[in-house]
């Protein structure tokens, strides 16, 4: 990496000065003349028929401009439904959300009407006065119960509660299990909550009747997706809608989804002829923003006497919620990832996505991968315990060795491409993590602690995760006559430092001055196509396109400069805002001059027969995921009297290929780890049996706070991927993925004197105490 100007350096973030001085512009910060404010009337019931809606009382409140239901929006809708599901042959039913509830509500929080008023205060007053006549129907809350004979139907018009069903696998699973000497089965409940970005969702829409132009500012992770859905729903053409993403206060997955509120706000602005703002509040976020929730796994592993894995099989029931807001991808990810880091000769997983009367489920940071990794790691711990093999040793015997990479798994991605583990050294990662936490010396420490009455434990978990999902992300690099370098991309920023990342990549090839580069992302008007921020993909996809575009612009600039300076291209270098002859710094031309030379003067030919414009647009095509890998190693202390789990040490060693900015990579990994710790020990999105959410504020739903969060020690390996020109892999989700498996392993280890096994996430203090009490009760009876 030596000799690089800015690429690979801990460059300070370009995003920071505005955000540190209160000059950021988040969607709720947008204040426009004549702007009015929206609130939503939402279903208070998990499942009900709507018999009627009386808006009169609400409309009579001073300052209220309108109350709109689906019936009011219908004349403006080309398509009443949000058709967003990713394709899959496994769907048994297509259940797309209506723009607003039609005659049946299927989850608490489902928007029924949009109320627009002078202030949000008045809008809330009025929303409370909209009288919706509901006929309450039986609701289904638990996804297992949903599949039982005679269960209430989540949608009264559905034939059953199965949204989709699929299986995947390879090898002769049945015969292998028949002959295997050791088989261990486990039941697991895995739950993850919502994204709980500190900024909730939000939208501001403006309708310009002169240009017939809809502008939507949205706290979304995908501007072009939003644009395309609006084109479909409103019957507009591509020039009639512009979606702009302002600063976004965290996304973590659910902001990737297009929502009913987005289209409702757009139409309210059109109907009223005034800008309309909706800023989601926290309670709305809890009940109407998508979440991950429950998976129930029944799994079995077969191993030989040495702990070598012979096969793995099982089934999983996945809570899909009431509608398809993204697809089957979350459950698919979970099932796909289970076996990946290890040599698993045969594998089979059967998955059912069950409909429930709850807000739709879509990916949250990690996107199903922590669950799949948890399954594998828990089964390995179980096998190790049963066979009396050290937990690290059983992993050592089964991890895919680096010399076998690239390694083709017997599984296909959702796009039907083979799963190929591209680069890395999984075993070295694990050994490094073990060394950092002194895994080998731990039993002695544990024994000593036990003598003092302290219960400490160590756990470790290996993971891989596919990142950089394609097929592409557009980047345009352009030098303008001002000499400024502009970078435009369909990528979306929500805190991952996208601007700094793209700037470092482009600056490296165009003079090294990061301050001379302006990045515009998240604006559907600047590039024709875009996919946005998800699946730890943007450094891979947009980063690669940015590199290629910057290199092409560089080549072009040097060619023009060579013409102007009458020098050979090979003798030129770009330094700051200038192109100069190496060793003759006075012989130079400014980037702006070079750009001007190809901007076109009427009647004059361009120099050197060069194409017009100092710019390049690139769509680097990505077919295959690039797999990051790593190991988390965790030491905890458990207070058996209260069930409290405290961290003594948290190590994560990871490999995300080439690093663009180590500071940012560290931040992503630690942040992801915090999310994983939250999922494992604190966060629980609860519903009662009528599908009524019972954790709808931050006092009931616990995010990890600073005192509970350990200092995370990081170790890095850098195995560049051959799959893209930068050698980079994604990193945004890495920290989350191994956390539940490693932490639960450590807790189980700490509580080994009580012979407790744990197959659930989250694990909360009362449950730990109960397990200990159960053990004591059983033992006192036996004794």
């Amino acid at each position: 990496m030596s000799g690089w100007k800015v690429f690979g350096s801990r460059a300070k973030r370009l995003e920071d000065p505005a955000l540190l001085t209160g000059q950021g512009r988040f969607v709720d910060d947008i204040i426009l003349p004549e702007m009015v404010h929206a609130a939503f009337v939402r279903s208070p019931h998990g499942h009900a028929k709507i018999l009627g809606i009386d808006k009169e009382a609400a409309l009579s409140i001073a300052g209220v401009y309108g109350v709109f239901t689906l019936e009011d929006l219908r004349p403006f809708l080309n398509n009443e439904r949000l058709v967003v599901g990713l394709p899959s042959p496994s769907y048994k039913q297509e259940l797309d959300r209506p723009a607003l509830a039609d005659d049946e509500v299927v989850y608490v929080g489902e928007p029924v009407a949009i109320v627009v008023a002078d202030t949000r205060y008045i809008a809330e007053d009025a929303a409370a006065m909209v009288d919706v006549d509901y006929d309450i129907l039986p609701a289904v809350s638990d996804c297992r119960a949903a599949l039982e004979e005679g269960a209430p139907l989540a949608h009264s018009s559905s034939p059953h509660n199965i949204l989709a069903q699929f299986d995947m696998g390879y090898g002769a699973v049945d015969s292998v299990f028949e002959s295997a000497s050791h088989k261990f089965s486990e039941s697991m409940w895995q739950h993850r909550g919502g994204s709980q970005s500190i900024e909730c969702r939000g939208a501001v829409s403006i309708y310009d009747p002169v240009e017939e132009l809809v502008t939507l500012y949205s706290a979304t992770q995908a501007a072009h997706t939003a644009k395309n859905i609006l084109i479909d729903m409103l019957g507009l053409n591509e020039t009639q809608i512009r979606v702009i993403i302002p600063d976004v206060g965290g996304g973590f997955g659910p902001k990737l989804v297009f929502y009913q509120e987005d289209v409702s706000v757009v139409l309210a602005a059109k109907i009223l002829g005034r800008p309309v703002k909706w800023a989601e509040d926290r309670r709305e976020h809890f009940i109407s923003t998508t979440q991950e929730r429950d998976q129930f796994w029944e799994v079995e592993i077969a191993v030989d006497d040495d702990g070598k894995i012979l096969g793995l099989r099982g089934s999983m029931i996945h809570d899909h919620g009431a509608y398809t807001a993204r697809g089957i991808n979350l459950a698919f990810n979970s099932a796909l990832i289970v076996s990946l880091p290890y040599d698993v000769p045969c594998y089979y997983m059967d998955v059912v996505l069950a409909l429930t009367n709850k807000v739709p489920v879509t990916p949250v940071r990690g996107a199903g991968h922590p669950q799949g990794i948890f399954v594998m790691e828990r089964l390995l711990d179980r096998a190790a315990r049963e066979l009396g093999i050290d937990r690290a040793e059983i992993r050592r015997r089964n991890l895919i060795p680096s010399e076998e990479l690239p390694y083709t798994k017997g599984l296909k991605t959702r796009g039907d491409a083979p799963v190929v583990l591209d680069s890395g050294d999984y075993l070295a990662c694990m050994e490094d993590a073990m060394e950092r936490i002194d895994f080998v010396g731990f039993p002695e420490r544990q024994e000593q602690a036990l003598k003092e009455g302290r219960y400490i434990g160590v756990g470790l978990a290996n993971y891989v995760k596919g990142t950089g999902r394609g097929p592409f992300e557009t980047v345009t690099v352009r030098i303008g006559p001002s000499g400024k370098i502009m970078v435009y991309s369909g990528a979306a920023a929500m805190g991952q430092s996208t601007r700094t990342m793209l700037t470092q990549i482009v600056a490296e090839h165009l003079g090294g001055d990061m301050n001379n580069i302006e990045v515009v992302t998240g604006d559907s008007s600047v590039v024709a196509m875009g996919i946005g921020g998800s699946a730890s993909r943007q450094t891979v996809t947009a980063g690669s396109s940015a590199l290629l575009a910057a290199q092409e612009v560089r080549d072009k600039a040097l060619k023009v400069a060579a013409h102007i300076l009458e020098a050979s291209e090979e003798d030129l270098e770009i330094e700051g805002g200038e192109i100069r002859v190496k060793g003759v710094p006075d012989l130079k031309v400014e980037l702006g001059t070079v750009a001007h030379a190809v901007a076109g003067t009427p009647g004059f030919a361009l120099p050197g027969g060069i194409e017009p414009g100092m710019e390049s647009t690139q769509n680097f095509m990505i077919d295959d995921l690039t797999f990051v890998n790593g190991t988390a190693a965790v030491e905890v202390e458990v207070d058996p009297e209260t069930g409290k789990v405290s961290f003594l040490k948290y190590v994560i060693v990871h490999d995300c290929g080439t690093v663009v900015n180590p500071m940012i990579v560290d931040g992503q990994v630690v942040g992801g780890t915090a999310h994983g710790i939250g999922n494992t020990l604190f966060e629980w999105m609860g519903y009662d049996e009528t599908a009524q959410p019972i954790t709808t504020n931050f006092a009931e739903y616990l995010l990890v706070s600073a005192p509970e969060m350990p200092h995370v020690e990081l170790g890095h390996m850098e195995s560049p991927t051959p799959l893209n020109p930068l050698g980079v892999k994604g990193v945004g989700e890495c920290g989350v993925v191994p956390a539940p498996a490693a932490i639960i392993s450590a807790v189980e280890n700490a509580l080994s004197p009580f012979e407790i096994s744990i197959g659930q996430v989250p694990l909360r203090p009362p449950e730990i105490v109960e397990k200990i009490q159960d053990f004591k009760a059983a033992n006192s009876q036996a004794g």
Partner: protein, 163 residues
Amino acid sequence: MGESRKISLSVNGKTYEEEVEVRFTLADFLRQQLGLTGTHLGCEHGVCGACTILLNGRSARSCLMLAVQADGQEITTIEGIAPSEDEMHPLQEAFRDNHGLQCGFCTPGMLTTLIEFLGDNPDPTEQEVREAISGNLCRCTGYQGIVAAALDAAQRLREANGA
């Protein structure tokens, strides 16, 4: 418009006289009426801490105060922390240098809280910093960069004060 009152207050050293609805929270008043949108609302029930401002130098949740209660008081928001337009406060510099922010949404509350805390405790331990920001939720950073920034800022401030 509902019942309103005239209030006079100082925000970031500037005096404002404003008519405000009595039910408006201080946060909404600062953001919507004064246009000081650097103070963020993350939960509006006093848990996330993003809306923290300094009220007469003391950190307070601006979602848990009515604007009318700020009559006659001195408020400092994130917009008022830096000494000048070209210069950031040492705490802001330390946040940038230590990657103490990612999306930046919790940042206003972190900064205001830590300014008060570092005044109370100029030489804190890591654990004391963690407890000081226990009422400020961050979903991006895992707090590590924030804690490092606070400790770094404490040192810079001590050095600046000749300690």
